[in-house]
């Protein structure tokens, strides 16, 4: 894959890899929620502490919300901070859902921190994070 990223990595080895991951993560978060302030709390991220198979890691995200027309979560975003690309999924929620809860399965290349963000209809963004250890990486093999 010859991309701007790989050219940059060649030019800036060896520090580029870590810096690029951070930049890609920041860009992905900005793409998801813009410049809205992010606060911790009001959202729970449930994951196993240890994933034997990084290819199938169960994840549950639950935000506190009555899910009414007046007060509901509009989106949940999932990021894997140490994957080759940090984006996992974004979910658009509506008040037809009884709870602001989504369960999914994700890929993790290595042990890392997961970040989930929930946006509500008043523009607030909440964050939860979790560290997961991974026995067998699920992205590149």
């Amino acid at each position: 894959m010859t991309t701007r990223r790989s050219l940059l990595a060649l030019a800036l080895l060896p520090a580029a890899a870590a810096a690029d991951t951070g930049t890609a993560l920041q860009a992905a978060i900005r793409d998801a929620v813009g410049d809205a302030p992010i606060t911790d709390g009001g959202i729970v991220l449930r994951v196993p502490a240890m994933a034997e198979n990084g290819g199938q890691v169960p994840v549950t995200i639950v935000a506190e919300s009555p899910m009414t027309a007046a007060d509901h979560i509009t989106a949940i975003h999932v990021f894997a901070t140490a994957n080759p690309t940090p984006g996992v999924a974004r979910f658009r929620l509506t008040p037809l859902l009884a709870r602001a809860e989504v369960q999914t399965r994700i890929r993790l290349a290595e042990a890392q921190r997961i970040i989930v963000l929930a946006q509500s209809n008043d523009g607030r963004v909440r964050r939860a994070t979790a560290e997961i250890r991974v026995t067998t990486g699920g992205c590149l093999t």
């Binding site: 894997a80 690309t85 974004r90 859902l97």
Partner: protein, 106 residues
Amino acid sequence: MTGTLSPPRIRIPRQARAGEVIEIRTLIEHPMETGLRQDGARRDMLTRLLVRMNNETVLAAEFSNGTSANPYHVFFVRMERTSTFEFTWTDEAGRSARAEARVTVG
């Protein structure tokens, strides 16, 4: 990258009481191949899942590289009346797989 997508599997109750919260589980077999692996497999990704109830959007998901193969999702809906659910997955080539389910309330 050829042929059609696998038929999705939906687990949903056939009946519910008015006001009951039901759990909906969906699974579709798909490699979710990112194209990043060392064996050089070509990219082949589902990008979207759209769930509608009586033609109104309930949940819309967009998948990136970190979503596992055979995407599996669980979510919860409160039932007020007999409803028809429609589930549609779409891949990067524009192909789609669709399933429907009806939940009777009464």
